[in-house]
């Protein structure tokens, strides 16, 4: 991996200390995404650690339970505020922390300032690599035709769009084929997909046809929730398309079983 510039806002003598916010889904369902993220960050010169953590609180926040969301926010801030940066392999969780934490402390000036200081350090993984660390290419190989889905929170709350495409273009052997409507929601929507499963299914159905029509053999995106949704639909429809988190492909870990595929042996 090559960086065009040294990381900026940490004292120049030591590498930036990054707290990896692994996200609930990566923690439980697909730890390899966490290791891929840690590898990418370490290769870009960061010192990575994973403090004890649970959830960013988004499910509570989006279900209207602000009080519980606030508890999650307090815990997360306490666990991560000693780091130079807080990085998550998810636009959705990073978006929650960066765009919404301060409003949870409305009317509490001290807590609000603390939350604002915290959210200034929060980044989504790939945009952190490109925009903050100045990474321009990765040393990885992936032999396949890949299509990239823009997950909504990353795209709209954090402006993650060109960064993953730029790094994917540097992966040896990889061809990027854009699908139609790559920036249209996949229908996951957190609890939405279980509250309104039939509507969610109609939305992910359209997404699955766009993915298949792109001619790609691999789908990548930056959010495990969306990936599980799309993988689950593609598999239910019997489509032979591998689904992977963008961090795995960028970290050269694209040879492990894809999402929802059994380990061999």
């Amino acid at each position: 991996m090559t960086s065009s510039s040294a990381p900026s806002s940490s004292p120049s003598h030591r590498p930036p200390r990054v707290g990896l916010f692994c996200t609930c889904l990566v923690d439980t369902i697909r730890p390899s995404v966490g290791f891929a993220a840690a590898k990418l960050l370490a290769e870009a010169g960061c010192e990575v650690d994973v403090p004890r953590q649970t959830c960013c609180g988004q499910p509570a926040f989006n279900s209207g339970d602000r009080a519980t969301a606030r508890v999650f926010a307090e815990q997360t801030i306490a666990a991560f505020e000693s780091f130079d940066y807080v990085v998550a392999p998810s636009g959705s969780c990073a978006g929650m922390m960066k765009a919404h934490y301060p409003e949870l402390f409305a009317g509490e000036p001290d807590a609000m300032i603390r939350a604002e200081r915290f959210c200034a350090k929060v980044f989504e993984l790939v945009s952190f690599l490109v925009d903050v660390l100045g990474v321009t290419r990765v040393c990885a190989r992936y032999d396949g035709v890949v299509t990239y889905h823009d997950s909504c929170s990353g795209l709209r709350e954090l402006k993650v769009r060109d960064q993953p495409r730029a790094l994917l273009a540097s992966v040896e052997g990889l061809t990027l084929n854009e699908m139609a409507d790559a920036d249209t929601c996949c229908g996951f929507g957190g609890t939405f997909c279980v509250k309104y499963p039939a509507i969610s299914d109609a939305i992910v159905g359209k997404k699955a046809s766009n993915i298949a029509a792109s001619g790609a053999d691999t789908l990548v995106a930056g959010d495990l929730g969306c990936l599980m949704n799309m993988a689950g639909k593609l598999q239910r429809e019997g489509q032979d398309i591998a689904v992977r988190h963008v961090a795995e492909v960028l970290a050269g870990m694209g040879d492990q079983p894809a999402i929802g595929v059994a380990r061999k042996g």
Binding site: S32, Q53, C152, C185
Partner: protein, 480 residues
């Protein structure tokens, strides 16, 4: 037609909509049609984003001083010889309008497209009073002869296809030759024009909505693509403008600023085909125009919104861009939302107008993808306002029980890391064992909503945090 509220049954409505092949065929065209056109219109105009800021600011300013502008507007309308009527609620507005119609002995009323008319259920009410309302916007005319409600705020008949329209025309226009050729859309349009022309001449009163009401001049502004609004407002004895309070803007200049983002956001046109400004009744030397000019200003809950957290919603200029870009709207169409206003703007507005008890499904049925906010010309933070309703629902214990308890149990565990981390380790290891050979599940207890339509991936094994700590410990011991 009066809209029966079926919002509490959004799920059932959606299930019907998803099965309806004709509707799905019509909906498939919504996204590609509107999205590309708006994009092209916005790209052509370098100052488009700045214009959106200014549109937002104009509306925010107006709402902050709405009382002043309402006063000024009333004064100017009066000075031009017109009348302003304030209607507290739907019943009030209906009564004001029927009184005017009755005083003039009206038998037929032509109508321009007006969502407020739908909101107050005006047509049914007029019919019950023996007054015949005739919708003159082609889309509104179609749904009127089908006894339906609009499924979109700017394209009310977007759920219909050409074959359905042809069948309806043959059913309703029985005085025309049965063997006429209606295969071309232009033939359908010509036939509707012919039918409506007679009605325009018969009408005693014309009722239109308004896109803007200009305080400095007392003018109502109406945009249409068919020119039906002009005929509706100039030919009859009286023109009644039916509009809600938030349509006010301070000046003519402000109205033109907003017009610059309205059509571009709605249909991708630079301007709608007709933009008509009406100020007062016909003056002595005017060649034509109505003898009376009335503005009925509907509150119906809006002044309460003005005081509260939903104030930003009153910036809405009803362009329809939010629904044109909404994946949920694309999937289920407008009728499934179960009342007058569909899509993201409906999801915010409906609970304020019919109550959160009945309307709570709407703000919940959103993926929060944020595309509505991204395109809204007046930058209304629609997801934030939908979340506001979810909070109200949660506070008032209206959230459905399984969801509430699910959330409680998860919240209890996950805010106690010492309990949560070992529990998830155990659960993931068990699931990994169960699903490991296939790599995924096609059914899972407690996850039926998911696995009914999709497979669920088996976890890899131990949690990331546990593995990370184990690796760190072993690195430390090898280093030592």
């Amino acid at each position: 037609m009066t809209v029966a509220i079926t919002s509490p049954h959004l799920k059932e409505n959606a299930a019907e909509a998803l099965k309806d092949a004709q509707l799905q065929e019509a909906l498939a065209k919504v996204g590609p049609g509107f999205i590309g056109k708006r994009r092209a219109a916005a790209d052509k105009m370098p100052e488009f984003e700045a214009l959106r800021d200014s549109a937002r600011d104009i509306k925010t300013h107006t709402l902050a001083h709405l009382d002043l502008y309402l006063e000024q507007f009333e004064e100017k309308v009066r000075a031009a010889g017109g009348h302003v009527h304030f209607a507290v609620d739907a019943a009030d507005a209906r009564a004001i309008i029927t009184d005017i119609c009755k005083r003039l002995g009206a038998r037929t009323v032509t109508k321009g497209k007006s969502m407020i008319s739908e909101e107050i259920g005006l047509n049914d009410h007029l019919e019950a009073q023996g007054i015949l309302p005739v919708e003159t916007d082609l889309g509104e005319y179609l749904i009127q002869i089908r006894h339906e409600t609009p499924s979109h705020i700017i394209a009310p008949a977007i759920h219909l296809n050409k074959r359905q329209v042809e069948a309806d025309f043959r059913r309703v226009h029985t005085d025309l030759p049965a063997d006429r050729d209606l295969t071309e859309p232009t033939a359908l349009l010509a036939e509707a024009r012919g039918e409506l022309r007679q009605k325009f001449l018969m009408a005693d009163v014309g009722i239109t909505g308004a896109n803007f009401l200009i305080a400095e001049t007392g003018t109502s502004v109406l945009v249409t693509n068919e020119g039906n609004g002009d005929l509706t407002q100039t030919l009859p004895k009286a023109h009644i403008v039916l509009a809600s309070l938030e349509k006010l803007v301070p000046t003519l200049e402000d109205a033109t600023q907003l017009l610059r983002v309205l059509a571009r956001s709605a249909t991708g046109q630079d301007m709608s085909v007709y933009t008509s400004f009406s100020t007062g009744p016909r003056r002595a030397d005017d060649p034509d125009g109505p003898g009376e000019y009335h503005v009925v200003l509907l509150d119906n809950g809006r002044s309460a919104m003005l005081q509260g957290d939903l104030r930003e919603m009153l910036r809405c200029i009803r362009c329809g861009a939010c629904m044109n870009h909404c994946p949920v709207y694309h999937a289920i169409g407008g009728h499934a939302y179960g009342w007058v206003y569909p899509g993201p703007m409906g999801a915010v507005l409906t609970p304020s107008l019919i109550g959160v008890e009945k309307g709570a499904n709407l703000p919940n049925a959103s993926t929060f993808c944020g595309r509505c906010e991204e395109v809204c010309p007046v930058r209304i933070p629609l997801p934030k306002l939908m979340r506001h309703w979810r909070e109200k629902e949660f506070e008032r214990h209206l959230t459905p029980a399984p969801q509430r308890y699910g959330l409680k149990v998860w919240g209890f565990l996950a805010t106690r890391g010492w309990l949560y981390r070992p529990a998830t380790r155990l659960a993931m290891k068990a699931l990994a064992l169960l699903g490991g050979t296939r790599g995924r599940f096609s059914s899972l207890p407690l996850a039926g909503g998911w696995t009914r339509y999709r497979d669920f991936p088996a976890p890899e094994g131990d949690t990331f945090q546990a593995q990370w700590r184990a690796r760190k410990a072993s690195n430390r011991s090898t280093a030592a």
